[in-house]
Symmetry: C2
Subunit: 449 residues, 2 copies
């Protein structure tokens, strides 16, 4: 895939330079908007406008809008004529439009909403009321809802006349007179039963639904767990107001996984590689500060033991191995807990069993590697007390690291702070300081210095 896109990008750039309009128009018409969006990111604004003007199909323009990254999209939308933007928006799924409008400067977004047809702009303003990362923020307000007395035949007719815009017309939701969700059926069922059968005779009444304020990650987990293509969203009064579709669920999982990975590594939560060196540096700078501060604390800890170190210089040689072992097992523990919580394999209710298990593993692995490293120390310096001090420090450092690495994210999850943030630089830094302190405290007392 990568190579195909690189070749495509090279030829589009070359044709743009040559201004080969008919050739470009042909390529653009044949290329899926999702692939065009990749190419857009690496074009200048002038090139983007040129290429965009060659897209004939308004739906393709809409998909391109949905696929572009924020950094590319916003300046591009502002550079287009407002009438063109409105025409494209009116053809796009409402949730995608709401997403973009929510990110535009108020002036631009107001101007766009004023120019849109009333129905569309009302739907969008309705969606903008919900938080971005909740069921309400990601749902589409277009769905098929019929009353339970409608027959299969009538339902098919209504599909032929209306509901042309519905993004995922596979489920038919059944609502009562108050708009409350009472059942669900599928397009497939419609064609299988006799045309005169009313929906209430074949609908499934046991429907999963989610509230508008449910976190998007929870919504995604429900869709994944029950293998459904869309989940209905209801408001406080149980009225059906939208659906969240499986394509959005895929995006949520991918985005949340990326966010978690980046947070754990201490690089913010947005993907920074596509940003400029300066932006990227600015995002990464503060996260490293935790580690810098930790290092300075460790520096003062060692400074405190300077006298002992002067007597037994070789103590310094064990600092890296003790810090490294603690740091690595701590990362293991916190990664397992963070990912376990994200995928639902670990529950916040299991705090003590999980932490206790990690502590046991830390102790066992600490014993194994403590003995190994102690043995190396004995080989090199033939001082049994030093070997014992080094071994005990590794055991201490690794057990504490496993404890801290699992406890901190579990506690954060319990008080509903994102556990991924807790990991990464903060946990690692805390473990560094604790390891160094334990090591010198144990060594000085065992060696009597």
């Amino acid at each position: 895939m990568g190579d195909r896109n690189t070749i495509l990008m090279e030829s589009i750039k070359r044709l743009l330079r040559r201004n080969a309009v008919p050739h470009l128009r042909k390529i653009v018409a044949k290329t899926h908007a999702a692939d065009l969006s990749r190419i857009f990111n690496s074009l200048s604004l002038t090139e983007q406008l040129k290429l965009f003007s060659l897209i004939q199909d308004i739906e393709q323009k809409g998909i391109l809008f949905s696929e572009l990254e924020e950094d590319t999209l916003l300046p591009f939308v502002e550079a287009l004529k407002i009438e063109d933007v409105v025409a494209i928006f009116e053809d796009m799924p409402t949730d995608d439009v709401a997403d973009i409008i929510g990110k535009l400067p108020e002036e631009t977004s107001d101007a766009i909403l004023r120019k849109m047809r009333t129905e569309g702009s009302e739907e969008i303003e309705g969606l903008l009321r919900y938080e971005d990362d909740t069921a309400g923020g990601i749902m589409v307000p277009d769905f098929i809802a019929l009353s339970e007395d409608v027959t299969a035949g009538e339902a098919i007719k209504s599909l032929q006349k209306e509901h042309q815009d519905v993004e995922m017309p596979f489920y038919l939701y059944v609502i009562n007179e108050y708009g409350n969700l009472v059942g669900v059926s599928s397009l497939r069922q419609l064609v299988v039963v006799l045309p005169e059968t009313p929906l209430k005779d074949f609908m499934v009444t046991d429907v999963f639904s989610v509230k508008t304020d449910m976190d998007q990650e929870e919504v995604a987990k429900i869709v994944a767990r029950y293998d459904i293509l869309a989940v209905p969203v209801v408001d406080e009064t149980n009225k059906l107001v939208g659906i969240v579709t499986v394509d959005d669920v895929i995006d949520i999982f991918r985005r949340e996984a990326t966010e978690d990975i980046l947070k754990m590594a201490g690089v913010g939560e947005d993907f920074v590689e596509t940003k400029s060196v300066i932006k990227s540096t600015r995002i990464r700078l503060p996260w490293l500060f935790a580690s810098c501060l930790g290092g300075i604390v460790a520096f003062f800890v060692i400074g405190y033991f300077e006298e002992s170190l002067r007597k037994l210089t070789y103590l310094a040689a064990f600092i890296p191995v003790i810090m490294g072992m603690g740091g690595n097992i701590g990362t293991q523990s916190s990664t397992i807990v963070v990912r376990g919580l994200a995928t639902g394999r670990i529950d916040t209710g299991e705090l003590w069993p999980v932490v206790f298990k990690e502590l046991s593993i830390g102790l066992i692995l600490g014993l194994v590697y403590g003995l190994l490293i102690g043995f190396v120390a004995q080989l090199k310096y033939s001082t049994i007390m030093l070997a014992i001090a080094v071994a005990s420090s590794v055991i201490c450092s690794m057990s504490v690291a496993a404890l801290v690495g699992s406890l901190v994210p579990m506690l954060f999850a319990k008080i509903e702070i994102d556990p991924a943030v807790a990991t990464g630089p903060f946990v690692t830094t805390a473990i560094d300081i604790i390891s160094v302190f334990f090591y010198f405290a144990i060594a000085t007392s065992l060696l009597g210095i």
Copy 2:
């Protein structure tokens, strides 16, 4: 969600102890098999068998089979009567059955395949020919394929009679006389057009398809990029042989993200938290060995500079901060590269631009933190050459870390080795050693010791 499941589990366990069969049967009938599977993991085999015998619906049993984790499922299947397993398998989607059969001991799987209806067992044996993690390994062989002269009305009739087993009956694939894929339409289109319209008049001829040997991650990316619900799979002769559905795509993305995260943290690639302490320890042990070996190398590096260290003991105090800064920026760089490659934001073709960018960021951040830490050194020891040595070491260590952290995974991806494995313990350990060496080399030469 978590709490609801915990409560459910507690009451099921209590009722099992009391042997409250009618009550249990009611709960089981009301609980989705995906939720039952969670509970199953924490029951003993006897309890599992008991609970399982209370499930009335064979489809629910099938979903439970699909949802159970390997460690729970395999001993459980072996404990069941072979006739029962066969009956459940015959009701399940073929790809899920093939998945399970492929993992069972050959004796058991042969016995099961012999007892299944010929058609089903042939389909499964067909699927078993493909690698687990390819399009062929994850596809379902049940799909709707019609010839292009079939009319919409005839297509609807055929849906009513056959294709009852099709897992995702939303797309209708159109094939020619040789079984080659020539077009696609949707159930929705069928009910919208006039019944006498032939498929060729309204089918879309521009169909994405994938080959049986395409890696599952690539397949998943295609489904996600083009927002489709299923992608058709063709064999070497372009014959349509199956489809990969969106629910499997979600599972692939989640599993691949988990794998990448675990590999980067050096904890294998399977989720270990649900395994026993001993198993878990065994998986984590070898990954820590890299870090241990690295620590021992760093130990000898420092040992080499022992004479200098004896003269200026305080040099030791800067080891943690220099190692920490290098380690953290290295983790940032490698995480960005690994995740960028996984999500397609970075291409292996961009090796030098990416590495050069990371190196620039490493240099800038190195300058910032080098000056800061050098300043602290100056405050504490008022030795300008020491401050310069510390500052330059931080700059060196951070730039080299950014370089190594981005270069190693990029190179691995280029030679098609999983870049996630390259990260974690290996990169961190290499950076530790390099940092410590640079620091002492710079300090001893600048301070003339």
